[in-house]
């Protein structure tokens, strides 16, 4: 066989060829559809079912009526939107200010500041919240103790506070400070590429530095700033870790924690209700994301960013330089130093205590010793590493194949695939986890016995990160000349061979960058592992949370410190990879 086509049996030859040539394409499509749509479909279906997913009892609208008549649901909705709005406002102001100061002024230590501003990404949201919880918990928070002592000097005595992190204000603070890095990264490029002659024209027309900033710089960059703000808003809408650590103890619910509560804490658990919450949440997010994409496309028409890549004029801000540096250091203190230090502090003590001289005497590495001696911890570390490696590899390979089909395959319907790859981006992590729970609890998938296994965990992370992976690979594949693949075809190679011997090796930098990105996020992942792991598939973040909930804050803090220390170099590495990649793609 393999002797080429025969003039005999033309019809048969044709359909076999089509199938063979497109078998790869069909396989990719089927896999992706299954992985993404089946859980979502399950979620939708289960919202109309009564009873526990394992033993469904029949169709009903009761879940919906309950949900929509529940005041808590609307409260959560309002909290989610409010938190996201105010938090984003704070984030954007801080991020834009720093982008301006770092890129366009003569603030001292600008290069250092650029690196430092990336560090908050190495601190998982849950640790950030727990750190601040230890600092500002009303009675024993370290910072509160210090403040109370300070106020006592003025004769004001308090038994609690003055600041209580377990409040809406606390949540807003956490959300506002947390999002700065991402918005900064999204906006700083625009600041760098802005045409300086716009500002120079203003200065020449006698405008002062501040006036120029507000009347020229900001308006010129508003498309980029708006796009970043919307992106930040959408991320805040999905936030889970801070509301879990800080909101829940104060009975403040947002949509994500409501789902968690209904499926993990509440007695009795109500999966049907959770499914309704999940569906509503997902629809809200899809809506927001469509609006975001449309708005970004429109705003790009008014962009004043030139492609020239020159270094814009640096503005001197005179005496304010030191004030600017102080502001930045203040931010860094709040975002990184304070939470990390308190975690470190707690990890060195037998149990959390407010700072004092006797407390200093109790410092030891006993907790760390205990951590490393526990078999369970070693198993957890192993699980975490396996999860990282497998998720990163599976995600990037699927993303590679999906991208190839989207960009290259001579088949109709690939536009559909492109839209499909955008769907997971709209689904909050907690909802992905919920959907997978439903999918594997309910027959028929229940019979695979995969519920609670590593497979489901990997699936969850793959769904969460495939959108990013696809987008990265799309850009990279488009850079590769079609003729390089065609030369392989005419040299006798089939589609699969060409893909793996020619295309993939050429894409290696992008593939590696994506792999590292997914691995780092898998290490940081919290909401999905929390919902999906069982006793033998615990990962680091889950163990940490368990220690915290059981009251062993010191062990939790120790694990937290270790996690952060592991993440810092990885985050910086990831950032370097991605910058190199965008450099190759000309600022993608």
């Amino acid at each position: 066989m393999g002797m080429g086509s025969l003039t005999v049996a033309r019809g048969m030859r044709m359909s076999w060829d089509v199938l063979r040539h497109h078998a790869l394409v069909a396989l990719v499509l089927v896999t992706l559809v299954a992985v993404i749509m089946i859980p979502v479909a399950r979620l939708l279906i289960n919202s109309f079912l009564e009873g526990h997913p394992a033993i469904p009892e029949g169709w009903t609208l009761k879940n919906y009526t309950t949900a929509f008549s529940m005041p808590l649901f609307y409260e959560a909705l309002v909290n989610t939107l409010g938190l996201a709005s105010v938090g984003t406002a704070i984030t954007v102001v801080i991020a834009v200010l720093f982008a301006f100061l770092i890129e366009r002024t003569d603030m001292p230590c600008r290069n250092l500041a650029w690196t430092l501003i990336l560090i908050p990404m190495a601190i998982p949201g849950v640790l950030f919240a727990l750190g601040w919880a230890q600092l500002l918990s009303p009675k024993t928070g370290a910072l509160n103790v210090v403040l109370r002592d300070f106020l006592a000097l003025f004769g004001v005595s308090m038994t609690e506070g003055p600041i209580n992190i377990y409040s809406i204000g606390g949540l807003i603070f956490l959300d506002g400070v947390r999002g700065v890095t991402t918005v900064f990264l999204m906006v700083v490029g625009a600041f760098r590429m802005m045409d300086p002659s716009l500002e120079e024209a203003a200065r020449v027309s006698k405008a002062g530095a501040i006036a120029t900033f507000f009347h020229v710089t900001l308006p010129a960059l508003s498309p980029a700033i708006l796009a970043a703000a919307m992106y930040s808003f959408i991320s805040s809408m999905e936030s889970f870790e801070a509301p879990l650590a800080v909101g829940l103890p104060a009975n403040i619910f947002v949509l994500s924690t409501l789902i968690y509560f209904t499926t993990r804490i509440q007695a009795p658990l109500d999966y049907g209700l959770a499914a309704v919450f999940g569906v509503s949440y997902m629809l809200l997010m899809v809506f927001l994301l469509i609006w975001y994409r449309r708005a970004v496309r429109v705003s790009e028409r008014f962009s004043t960013v030139t492609g020239k890549g020159f270094r814009p004029r640096v503005i001197s801000i005179g005496r304010w330089r030191w004030a600017a540096l102080a502001m930045f250091m203040g931010y860094f203190l709040l975002a990184v130093v304070a939470p990390f230090c308190v975690l470190l502090w707690t990890s060195l003590l037998p149990g959390y205590r407010a700072p004092s001289i006797e407390a200093m005497g109790m410092i030891s590495l006993a907790n760390y010793v205990e951590i490393f001696e526990t078999d369970r911890v070693l198993q957890v570390i192993w699980n975490t590493l396996v999860l990282m490696f497998v998720s990163a590899t599976v995600t990037m390979i699927l993303a590679f194949m999906a991208s190839w089909v989207i960009v290259r395959a001579p088949v109709r319907g690939r536009g559909l695939l492109d839209s499909l790859m955008f769907v997971p981006h709209a689904i909050p992590g907690i909802v992905i986890a919920l959907a997978l729970i439903m999918a594997f609890l309910t027959p028929p998938l229940r019979y695979t016995g995969l519920y609670g296994s590593m497979v489901v965990l990997v699936l969850g992370l793959v769904v969460a990160y495939i959108s990013f992976g696809t987008r990265l690979m799309n850009g990279a594949i488009m850079q590769i000349q079609k003729e390089l693949e065609q030369a392989a075809y005419v040299s006798g190679a089939g589609t699969a061979k060409t893909l793996f011997q020619i295309t993939l090796p050429l894409l290696f930098p992008a593939f590696a960058a994506g792999w590292v990105w997914v691995a780092v996020h898998a290490l940081r992942a919290f909401s999905i592992p929390l919902m999906l792991s069982s006793k033998n598939t615990e990962v680091f973040a889950v163990l940490l949370w368990e220690f915290w909930e059981n009251g062993t804050a010191s062990l939790a803090s120790g694990l937290g410190v270790l996690l952060i220390l592991a993440l810092i170099p990885l985050t910086l590495l990831m950032r370097r990879f991605i910058t190199q990649m965008s450099g190759q793609q000309g600022g993608a």
Binding site: S5, R10, Q486, A487, Y489, G492
Partner: protein, 377 residues
């Protein structure tokens, strides 16, 4: 192996409506022949080549390589199963491999699989043919344009294909290199006796390399023939002006004599030419004369056997080996050339002389045909 193309059709849908890239295109390439598809951008030559390669699919028609139908209404052989080798315009050398690995690639595929020992011999043999054997271990990114071109050629030939396809392989090279490689490619294909189909928009390449040329425009073949036929006996005004430079004199046939000659009356003068059969007195005609067929004289001639028109030098451009002149003859601007030593100051009155045998008479321009004066070069 011969290649037979029959009634190839292809449409592209664009935002301005459908475009007929290929319009019932048919041609045959004989075994061992060097056949060139020549035409301007957008004429469909690359599309045709890619259909033969299997990289594109026509909407209708049939393609046969040897006795195998590789493309027809119900038949489709993917490119990796056709007995072809192809050289791309961009060379498409894989940057992550060495020269050796690039050339070896076809021999590792199922269709051509060759055991390891034989592979090495075949690769080095074909590298020697293109004088690249010394660079076999060089990584691909460190090659110059000309070297990449040679590697591409070697890769296309290593599996001893029945047909070699070349898609404007020389257009990215500088002029000197182009000239060199032109000769090398032709020599190589002749020596190997391999059927070659070459696509280009450069008429010098086409004339220099081909056994036969097919001039294409708008998805159709306008004329097919040997380089001499195409150049000396163009059948349409498009072919005349696309291949080489040409002057057109429009007028009407006034008399026709028994020996096949006749007179065409034009505003520039009465021209005696070889009339094609079927052109009667009164028919509209266009007389095509190539600039190199004209001599520029300072005085009127006495030889009644030669055609002559009078004019004044408008421009004279020194090109090294010749002087390219634009002569104003009446209302027309006529291109002529002369050797570098002649006196051709602008404004000088001159007489352009040319033989009746140098004139090609084409059907006169009707209102349907677009105006095709000599193209400015």
């Amino acid at each position: 192996m011969e290649v037979v193309v029959r009634e190839l059709n292809k449409r592209f849908g664009t935002s301005h409506g459908d475009v007929n890239a290929l319009n019932t295109l048919s041609f045959d390439v004989k075994k061992g022949e060097f056949y060139t598809l020549l035409g301007p951008s957008g004429c469909g030559k690359s599309t045709t080549l890619r259909c033969i390669a299997g990289l594109e699919r026509a909407d209708g028609g049939e393609i046969r390589i040897g006795d195998r139908v590789v493309a027809a209404v119900n038949v489709w052989t993917p490119p990796n199963e056709r007995p072809i080798g192809m050289v791309f315009q961009s060379y498409a050398i894989w940057p992550h491999m060495t020269v050796y690995k690039n050339v070896e690639f076809p021999l590792r595929q199922r269709r051509n699989r060759v055991p390891k020992k034989a592979r090495r011999d075949m690769v080095m043999e074909v590298l020697a043919l293109v004088q690249m054997e010394a660079l076999a271990d060089r990584p691909a990114p460190f090659l110059s344009g000309g070297q990449q071109q040679r590697v591409a050629l070697a890769r296309a030939l290593v599996s001893r294909p029945d047909v070699l396809l070349l898609d404007e392989p020389l257009s990215n090279l500088d002029a000197k290199l182009r000239e060199e490689l032109r000769v090398e490619i032709k020599e190589l294909t002749r020596r190997l006796g391999i059927t070659s189909i070459y696509v280009t928009h450069d008429q010098v390449e086409a004339l220099a390399m081909s056994d036969r040329i097919a001039v294409m425009q708008g998805g159709r073949i306008l004329q097919e023939g040997s380089p001499k036929d195409i150049y000396l006996r163009p059948e349409t005004s498009f072919v005349a002006q696309f291949v080489g430079q040409v002057n057109f004199f429009s007028g009407a046939v006034s008399t026709a004599t028994q020996d096949g000659y006749g007179v065409v009356e034009t505003p520039q003068g009465r021209l005696r030419c070889n009339l094609p059969a079927g052109m009667a007195p009164g028919a509209a005609a266009m007389v095509a004369v190539r600039p190199e067929a004209m001599t520029i004289a300072s005085t009127a001639g006495l030889d009644a056997a030669l055609n002559e028109v009078e004019g004044a030098i408008e421009k004279a451009i020194f090109l090294g080996d010749i002087i390219d002149c634009q002569v104003q003859v009446g209302t027309e601007s006529v291109r002529a050339r002369t050797s570098a030593v002649d006196d051709v100051t602008p404004g000088k009155r001159v007489w352009l002389r040319f033989s009746p045998d140098a004139c090609v008479v084409l059907p006169g321009r009707t209102s349907a045909e677009p105006e095709l004066r000599q193209a400015p070069r």
